[in-house]
């Protein structure tokens, strides 16, 4: 009888603890194993990675990007005034990575800040998703930092993305288009925002009301838009994260080997008054 009471008290305490747990501390994917086997989640993530690789390769072939870069390299090599050493090329590559890490290609600070929020938020969200699904399945205690980072990453993407979507998108800010006007250029940002927004809503519902029907519907919408994000690579600008640094590297090489078609920088400073 005493043992039964203790067990009941233990269950009640567990329930209280569960309700006290916030969405920042629980692994959303561990609780999902009631609905989906762990293997299915892992296979889904691998399939999405393959979709990004396949989509990018398709994009390269379909748009002729590889041909464009090869021709550009040939022209650059033919017009080069000097050959770059391996060290110089490596130094340029490091410079390109450093520039990409701080979104240095943006000349205006609001766009740069918004992009930094989205970029680091997205990477944090992706890495913690993979870590939670592959390293901490149900039954394995998840370090609190992972779900916290997952949620924080999602919120960063939403903060930077919504700012960009409603105020900084160039067709909205300069071309006079409505913020609610959607085109193909919005496929990437739109699917990222909706996917992550529903991920956070699903996580919140899971932490508060558990795996109910409504939670599962929200989860379904989250998975639909996540799938759209990764399988739409050939039609969206997802692959810009690979192309942009490649173009930047090529331009820097052209600047260094003397084949750039830009004018030489002025040797004289004409700013003589304050």
């Amino acid at each position: 009888m005493t043992a039964a009471l203790e067990a009941a008290e233990c269950e009640a305490a567990k329930g209280r603890r569960l309700t006290e747990v916030t969405m920042f501390t629980i692994n959303p994917f561990a609780a999902l194993t009631d609905l989906l086997p762990l293997l299915a989640m892992q296979v889904y993530i691998v399939l999405m990675m393959l979709a990004v690789v396949g989509g990018t390769l398709f994009d390269v072939v379909h748009k002729g990007s590889a041909r464009f870069f090869a021709r550009r390299r040939e022209q650059s090599a033919a017009a080069a005034l000097r050959q770059l050493s391996g060290g110089e090329t490596a130094s340029i590559a490091v410079g390109v990575i450093a520039e990409a890490a701080v979104s240095g290609e943006f000349s205006k600070w609001p766009r740069r800040l918004s992009h930094l929020l989205m970029m680091y938020g997205f990477f944090t969200y992706l890495i913690t998703t993979v870590a939670m699904v592959f390293c901490y399945p149900a039954g394995t205690p998840t370090p609190t930092i992972l779900p916290t980072l997952w949620t924080a990453g999602g919120l960063m993407v939403l903060a930077g993305g919504l700012w960009f979507f409603f105020f900084l998108r160039v067709n909205v800010a300069y071309d006079g288009a409505s913020p609610f006007h959607l085109g193909r250029a919005d496929l990437f940002i739109g699917s990222v925002l909706v996917s992550i927004a529903f991920a956070l809503v699903w996580h919140y519902m899971q932490a508060t009301i558990g795996n109910t029907i409504s939670t599962r519907i929200v989860f379904g919408i989250y998975i639909f838009f996540t799938t759209l994000l990764f399988v739409s690579v050939p039609w969206s600008k997802f692959a810009h994260m690979f192309f942009k640094p490649a173009v930047r590297f090529q331009r820097r090489v052209e600047g260094a080997n003397g084949s750039s078609d830009l004018p030489s920088p002025s040797t004289e400073n004409f700013i003589i008054r304050s």
Binding site: K108, V170, N171, Y174, R251, D261, P263, E268, N269, I272
Partner: protein
């Protein structure tokens, strides 16, 4: 010679859309990069070429009087107050020109509303509003009477 945007260089900042007096620089709905929607209507003022912070806008002549093969590139260096042009002719010749555009730092010119409102009694003065201080001189030259 009208302008066109190299989409691999454009980051879609919108400066060219903002500055184009013909309103023909627009944003591509698929790639969200700028493009010249109607080269025939280009005034060839090259405001967009000079405004682009990424040197993404080039100049391309009509094929009938400036056959393809040439290049006109611009480098804007606001921190030095200069815009340089590089012309590559079809026969391979290259010419470079550097044009000083200002002597004060970029963004340092005060707008009219940033100045103190002039006194109405100054209407009778020969000087324009905020002369001579706004011209960075102590006094304007005067004609000496014989």
């Amino acid at each position: 010679m009208p302008t066109y945007t190299d989409m691999t260089k454009c980051d879609g900042c919108g400066d060219c859309v903002d500055i184009c007096p013909s309103d023909i620089m627009h944003i591509d709905p698929v790639y969200r990069r700028s493009y010249n929607i109607e080269p025939n209507f280009c005034w060839e003022c090259y405001s967009c070429v000079k405004a682009c912070p990424h040197q993404a806008i080039d100049v391309r002549g009509y094929a009938d009087f400036a056959p393809l093969g040439h290049k006109v590139r611009v480098l804007r260096e606001p921190e030095k107050g200069v815009i340089s042009w590089k012309i590559r002719y079809r026969d391979g010749r290259l010419k470079e020109f550097a044009f000083p555009i200002r002597t004060t730092p970029w963004g340092s010119i005060k707008a009219a509303q940033d100045y103190e409102k002039p006194d109405l009694s100054a209407l009778g003065s020969q000087l324009l509003a905020h002369e001579p201080t706004a011209l960075h001189v102590s006094a304007l030259p005067t004609i000496k009477k014989a």
